[in-house]
Every structure is written in C-alpha cells, then in structure tokens.
C-alpha cells in the first residue's frame, strides 16, 4: 500500500486504504518520541518551511518537532513578522520561499483552498495545516490514530461531532475520513452551526444529550469566535447551556466513550473543565499523536518527491532518442 499523492491537501477523496496507510505509518513513528534520543537521520539535509498566516501553537510546534525528530531543517514563517505585513501576496511569498528550494511547504491560511492554490503552482510538496473552514488533514489523521489506540478499531465506529461544525475544518476532515472508513457520523449543534452539506456527512441533530447516546467517540469542536461576523447564537451562556459537554451530558453516552477536542479549548463554553481533564478525555494524547502523524506525512511526501523525480524524468523518452541516433 502507498500514498501516491504529491501533496496532503485534504482527506476528502482519499480512499479507505490510503487513510489507513497514513494512520499505520503514523503509528510506527510514535515510538521515536518515546526514546531517550528522539531523533532519526531520515530527512537529514532536507528543509521544511512552515508558512502560517493564522495563529497556531499546537500545529506549528507539532510540525516543527516532527521535522526536527526526522533530522530535517525547519524554517518557520508567520504572517505577522513577514513581508505579508508589507502587502506581499500569498503567491509571491510562496514563490520566493520555493525559490530557496525547500523540500516541503506546510501552510496554514484563513482562505479555504490556499493550500490547493499553492500546490498547483509550486514545485515542492505542500501540506495543508488548515485552510479556512475547509480542511485540516493532519488533525483528522491524529484523531483517527487516537481513536484506534483507545477504541481498538477504525471500523464500525459511531462518532459524534459536536459544536461549531460550520466553521470547523477539523469537522470537515474528520467527517470525510470517517465516512471513507464507513463510520456512523452524527453532527450535533445549533442549526446556525450546521451547514447544509452536513446532512450528507451523517445524522444531524440539535440535542446534545440524545445525540451522544451510543456513540464510541465524541469530538468536540471549538467555538471559533474569531471567524464570526454575525451572531450565531444569542449568548455564550445560552450556547453552553445546550451544547457544553458536561458530566451530565457525558453520562448519557456509553461508559467507555472517549472525548476528543482539537484545541485550543474554551473551558466552560463547549466543554466543561472536569470533562476536558477527566478520565474520558484523550486531548493530551491527541497532541502526542500529532507529532507522529506529522512525522509520517513529512516522511512520505519528501520521499515521494525523490521517487517521482526518478520515475518521471527522461526514463520514457530517452531510449527512443538513442535508437534514432544509433
């Protein structure tokens, strides 16, 4: 099995086998972070550049640690300290970075499709680290790895995605991946947070307590206050009264249900502190698994380029020329 794509832009459209291959490969990288010497020489001499146009703690750090544990050099650019602040366009910035011959570009941008846009125009592999409300593939992969570690399987799952589905790229990537794996997906939130296409991903409900009954996994989504131009609910207080995952809501679910959240969490708004820090919570393990997932993704994409340059180079054309000449 292989991941034959040049980039990782999203999970929509990937096959079940491709997704499982990415999760399997990620699982083999976990052990490296448990070693005393947390470094392997695999990407020695390779350069990974991250270009973040949105704030991030977890994802950017996770990519950086992943690259460094593979011995790659990691250069981090954020929009505030870069020429983007002087008005340079995304494409111009990216072209200039590409001209310095990185082996992989990791991009986060507020515009959906930003990673696809660059992937179509640059020579190096591109990893989407979140593009607007579109996709966040490495987050969904680490969610799957965490689910498999704890539930023990990735087939026949029942998963609830709760909260701000509309603005959530995590929800989209999770929903696409879970559907490819044949999971039963439930989407729970107020009507203003459930986009029309959500009905195609799974069962939509506005009742948290009823919605979590019988699910194996609850994935809470962050209320993205920075993306809200208008009011999606009357008040945070009212939102939390209906959609905050409290111990009472959790009691409606299976005893062995696991709770995940992509972070950063709004304590007391979408998730109660005693649930976020409680025994069902896998939030910290998600973060740990994130490093393994990003190591696997960087490993596969950077190696893939080497393979393609060999395969697609003159190999096909050259013999024909030789024959006519000789």
């Amino acid at each position: 099995m292989t991941y034959a794509h040049r980039h990782l832009l999203g999970l929509e459209g990937l096959s079940r086998d491709e997704i499982l291959y990415l999760v399997d490969t990620s699982a083999s990288f976990k052990e490296i972070s448990e070693r005393e010497i947390k470094k392997v020489p695999t990407l020695r001499g390779k350069t990974v550049v991250s270009l973040f146009y949105e704030p991030s703690t977890r994802t950017r750090t996770s990519f950086e640690i992943a690259a460094k544990r593979l011995s790659a050099d990691f250069v981090s650019i954020s929009s505030s300290g870069s020429s983007a602040a002087k008005g340079e366009t995304l494409l111009d910035t990216a072209r200039n970075i590409a001209a310095m011959r990185p082996d992989c570009l990791v991009i986060r941008h507020a515009a959906a499709g930003a990673a696809h846009f660059l992937a179509a125009r640059l020579a190096c592999p591109v990893v989407n680290a979140g593009d607007g409300a579109h996709e966040h593939p490495t987050q969904a992969l680490l969610d799957l790895l965490t689910i498999r570690d704890h539930v023990g399987r990735l087939s026949d799952l029942r998963v609830a995605l709760v909260g701000d589905v509309l603005h959530s790229r995590v929800a989209r990537s999770d929903a696409h991946a879970l559907r490819a794996l044949g999971a039963e997906v439930r989407l729970i939130g107020p009507p203003t947070f459930l986009p029309p296409e959500a009905a195609a991903w799974g069962h939509v409900t506005h009742d948290l307590h009823a919605g979590v009954r019988g699910v194996d996994v609850i994935i809470m989504l962050r209320i993205q206050r920075e993306r809200m131009g208008r009011n999606y609910f009357p008040s945070l207080d009212e939102y939390s009264r209906y959609f905050c995952l409290t111990r009472a809501a959790l009691a409606e679910a299976r005893k062995d249900v696991v709770v995940m959240h992509p972070g950063p969490i709004n304590r007391g708004i979408e998730i109660a502190s005693d649930v976020a820090d409680g025994p069902a919570s896998l939030i910290m393990e998600q973060v740990t698994n994130g490093v393994a997932v990003r190591m696997a993704v960087l490993f596969l994409l950077v190696n893939r380029v080497r393979a393609t340059t060999r395969e697609t180079a003159p190999a096909v054309e050259r013999p024909r020329l030789r024959r006519t000449a000789g």
Binding site: F29, I32, R304, R306, A307
Partner: protein
C-alpha cells in the same frame, strides 16, 4: 524470462544451522548473562524468535528479544523507486551494557547491518554488538562481517537468495535463484532488501 532455482537449505537444514548458531552464541557469551537478541525486520525478527526459543530450551532462560526497522536509517532513501514501508521498531528493554546479537536472514552488501547499527546506537550503548545471519552470500560493500553464520553461500551478483520462513511464508527454505541470461541485466546487483 526463465530463472533457475536451487534449494540450498530445506526446513531441516535451516533448523540445524540455527541450532549450531544458538550453541555458538551461548559459547561465545558464556551463557545468557546480559544477552539480548534484536531481529532486523522482517525475517530477522522471526529468526531472532527461533534463536530465543532454542536458547530457552537449552538454558531455561528467556532472553529479551527486540525488533529493529531500519527503514528510517537507510542510505538509499534518496534513490528509492517505491515508497518505503515503515513498520516500526520495538526495543522494550535497555540495551546499555548488554551483549546484543543482531539477527538477519541474509548478509549481502552490509548496508542493512550498517543501518541497524546506527539504529541500535540510538537506543543506548551496548557492551558488544554481534551479528548472526542465516545466510552469508558475500559481496560486501562495507567493512562488516558476521559473528555467526548459518550457511556461507558463494553467489554471483546476478543471482539472488530467497529466504522463506514458516511464520511469514508458510514454509522453510533458502533458494538460490539465477536469471537465465545473467550478466547483461546486472548493473548494480540485486538489492538485498
């Protein structure tokens, strides 16, 4: 293209060779004190398990057995024509000051062993590292030799050695395969992995 195949070790031959190697390991290390076995994926892992069973039968001691995946340490990742499969490493015990026996099926260029040594050193500082292989087919490209050899098998570069083990392949045998019109096809020699 027709290839000629010759069985150089059958199930009994493999078992006898491993029995001898087990005794040699125990003799050289004066028993099992501080002894650990580490198999190189994939068939080295099966062979390490078999050696561990034989040691347990002789000495009544279960020696720790680990797994090393050398993919992340390969020197030819740059030239790989297909996506390398990472299966993971599992060394669940400290190797500091231990007598480590690396186990692999075929010793050829020595590049796998070079990578395994690099991987091993990342886990600690063993007192000694020894190498046990089922088949040594020659053609070393690095200054590496085996301490324990099941069978020395002189080969030509255009030949390849196929090891099959019950655990993985359903039966035990070592086969020497030669392409029919050999030297023209060979530039770098077949890869050992």
């Amino acid at each position: 293209m027709v290839a000629t195949r010759r069985i150089v070790l059958d199930a009994q031959g493999i078992d006898r060779a491993l029995a001898r190697v087990t005794h040699e390991i125990l003799e050289r290390n004066k028993g099992t004190d501080g002894l650990v076995l580490i198999g190189i994926r994939s068939r080295g892992v099966d062979l390490a398990q078999r050696l561990a069973h034989k040691i347990a039968a002789i000495e009544g001691v279960d020696v720790p057995t680990g797994i090393i995946d050398i993919t992340l340490y390969r020197d030819d990742l740059n030239r790989a024509t297909q996506q390398p499969q990472v299966m993971g490493t599992d060394v669940g015990f400290p190797i500091d000051d231990r007598q480590v026996v690396l186990v692999d099926d075929v010793l050829y260029t020595g590049r796998t062993v070079r990578a395994a040594l690099d991987a091993l050193i990342d886990f600690g500082r063993p007192r000694t590292v020894q190498l046990a292989v089922l088949v040594d087919r020659g053609h070393r490209e690095l200054p590496i030799r085996a301490d324990y050899v099941g069978k020395n098998l002189p080969t030509a570069l255009y030949e390849s050695v196929e090891v099959r083990l019950k655990e993985r392949d359903g039966r035990d045998e070592v086969v020497l395969v030669a392409a029919e019109s050999p030297p023209l096809l060979v530039k770098e020699g077949a890869k050992e992995r």
